[in-house]
Amino acid sequence: MTGEEGRVELRLTVDGAERTASIDPRSLLLDALRDELGAIAPKAGCRTGDCGACTVRVDGAIAKSCLRLAVADDGCEVRTTASMAVGGELTPLQQAFWDTNAFQCGFCLSGMLFAAEDLLERTPSPSETEVREAISGNLCRCTGYDAIVAAVLSCAAPPVRSSRGA
């Protein structure tokens, strides 16, 4: 629906709240979230899908919001890292990132936290290599990644004990 000055109405559920905004149809999802909906957790680091700082969840799946047209996501449910902590309580992963100094400038955190959370959902007990692969769609220029890897591994479920004689 085209409104004033060629703007269109966008309906999104953002971090649990149903929102509508009148947006410029040229907006990427990242722009709509940051500029129109006040959701500043995702960052614009490259706008080419390389750094991952703009990562959000769209209908549950992690996605780089600089690679999505906002109008195409009309009606979707979007989550940013701002709603990871439920009721103000940090998730174990957020806690681990804080405790192990897994960020410095923090600009990459949306991507790193979501990539790590997504990995642990699919692979609860990942190897170090699996962790490194999972966060390799994201760039961090500060940490050298070791602290991030340590934080994610510290949240891994204990490996399932293999049954004897199997």
Partner: protein
Amino acid sequence: MIPARFRHVAPADLGGCVAALAEGGRVLAGGTWVLPEMSRGESAPAQLVDLRRAGLAELTATADGLQMGAMCTYADLLGSGPVAEHAPLLRTMAGGITGGWALRNQATVGGAAMAARPQSDVPAALVACAAVARVAGPRGARDIPAAELFAGAMRPSLAPDEVLAGFRVPSAAGAGSGYVKLKRGGSSWPIATAAAVVRLDAVGLCTEATLVLGGVAAVPVRIDVSALLGRVVVDDDVRAVTAAVADALPEPWGDVLAPASYRAAVAAPVARRALSAAVADAEEERA
């Protein structure tokens, strides 16, 4: 934001997409290549025809292989039982895509094919799988074998008013596959890829062998490995058929990450490793 104004349409079926494209513009699949180009102002189509609501994300087993819609993502491939069974090469390829799961959830095989970038995993893998593209347009639908789908760098052989609907991929069940990708690290696009499919009969004689190189020329390069047919393939055979693959490159591709001379030099080892892996895999399949 994207600088230039454009119209965004997301028709509910393929016919709608074809009709919309008749008015010009550019097709939008996963968006991971087109949208950054538009963000940078390098592309300014008046219209984006978005395939996401057109029902093109099917990924199913057929009588003789796979039916794969143009909007299937790498994540779809990785989560698919039929792909694992009928096109393990595509599965391996999808698992090595740069960009993490956030990208795999979004980027599509069809989009990568239509971007037709020389430095992409997809074109050579599709050729190696003998995939056949189904294309729809105002003059009706037609099939294009993957080997004929890439007219040049960044140039698919579709007419501007045609839309890729999907691929049929013949089953490679029982065959061995090998996929090797050479990159300059995790941030790099592929410098050279080799996709190989080898089938052995009950006594271990080679009945089918395919080797396709990517990244080393403007379009995928099929290497003649027919010398392997009818033989029990040993390392020396693999070495022999791959030693001179660089000679098969009409004009080696070069870009900012690796000059043509480098790509020509690494083509042989990359080809050999993929073919060796395919032979080993085929032997395992046979066992």
